[in-house]
């Protein structure tokens, strides 16, 4: 699916003031997960924020490619969950491989 299809098709991301906030559904899921886990007390929002600041600061120091905010957001969440032992690196790798191996059409 192209980016244009995502903007106009059934997966159209939420809009506010006519502006796209999430460019792809996964960005909304990542944002929603990070907040929901903090609200449930799994971690303090400040812990997540510290990881996000680290991720963004690393890019600021050495910009590589286009700045993609939700890439940093995703990595910050992943690193925090791994650091707290809430998910395991091996388990995550296996799950990613399993999902990636699904037939095309189930990969969004």
């Amino acid at each position: 699916m192209s980016a244009a299809d995502e903007l106009t098709g059934e997966l159209a991301p939420p809009m506010a003031n006519g502006e796209v906030l999430f460019e792809a559904p996964w960005q909304g899921r990542v944002f929603g997960m990070a907040r929901a886990l903090a609200e449930a007390g799994v971690y303090d929002w400040d812990e997540f924020r510290a990881h996000l600041i680290d991720e963004i600061a690393a890019w600021d120091r050495d910009p590589a490619g286009e700045y993609r905010y939700y890439d940093h957001f995703l990595r910050a969440l992943e690193r925090l969950l791994l650091a707290k032992g809430l998910i395991g690196a091996d388990g995550l790798g296996e799950r990613v491989s399993a999902f990636a191996a699904r037939p095309h059409g189930h990969d969004h």
């Binding site: 502006e19 929603g32 963004i56």
Partner: protein, 190 residues
């Protein structure tokens, strides 16, 4: 497989593991997205601004303690951070940024626009605010002081814009329609 798909898969894998471990309810994720994106939006902030324009007592309360003044509305959603409202005047213009990441008054403005999170805005609005504001189409007179407020984990800022000169006779609800998200960040005037 595109890079975009790869990130979507990673996000989905994380979510599925968290759900399996009983740490996360997917419905909560839906609720967060809906809360911050669809339901909250910038309209909550606009209602507060419009009331401040109409009600001097409320305006005084809003500027004295934004968090407490916000509680006078039934916005729902959690605002755990302190909300500080800064007022634009004929000689001072306020603009908000988060230089470190993306801190933003979600409870009253919804989710931040893309440019708010970009490195260019985060660094340049501090260094050369007048020039950045001009790029947004907001040209300030030389004698207007610009104050840049850096949001943090503890404090979120909201700009109280100046009431439009041509808004006489409008009621509070109509005024709220005039208040834009960008005006409450401080990069526009209503």
């Amino acid at each position: 497989m595109s890079e975009q798909d790869w990130r979507a898969i990673r996000a989905e894998a994380i979510e599925s593991l968290l759900v399996e471990r009983g740490l996360l309810d997917p419905a909560d994720v839906d609720r967060v997205i809906e809360t911050y994106n669809d339901r909250v939006g910038p309209m909550n902030g606009a209602r507060m601004v419009a009331r401040a324009w109409c009600d001097p007592d409320f305006k005084a309360r809003l500027l004295a303690d934004g968090t407490a003044a916000m509680a006078e509305f039934d916005f729902g959603g959690a605002q755990t951070e302190k909300l500080v409202v800064v007022e634009n005047t004929p000689d001072t213009h306020n603009v908000v940024v988060c230089t470190l990441c993306s801190c933003y008054p979600w409870a009253v403005l919804g989710l931040p626009p893309r440019w708010y999170k970009d490195p260019a805005y985060r660094s340049r609005i501090v260094r050369e605010p007048r020039r950045v504001l001009a790029e947004f189409g907001l040209v300030l007179d030389d004698d207007v002081r610009v104050r840049v407020w850096d949001s943090s984990a503890e404090v979120r800022y909201l700009v109280l814009p100046r009431r439009p000169a041509d808004a006489d006779g409008l009621d509070e609800a109509a005024l709220a329609q005039r208040v834009t998200r960008d005006a409450m960040i401080g990069v526009a005037q209503p």
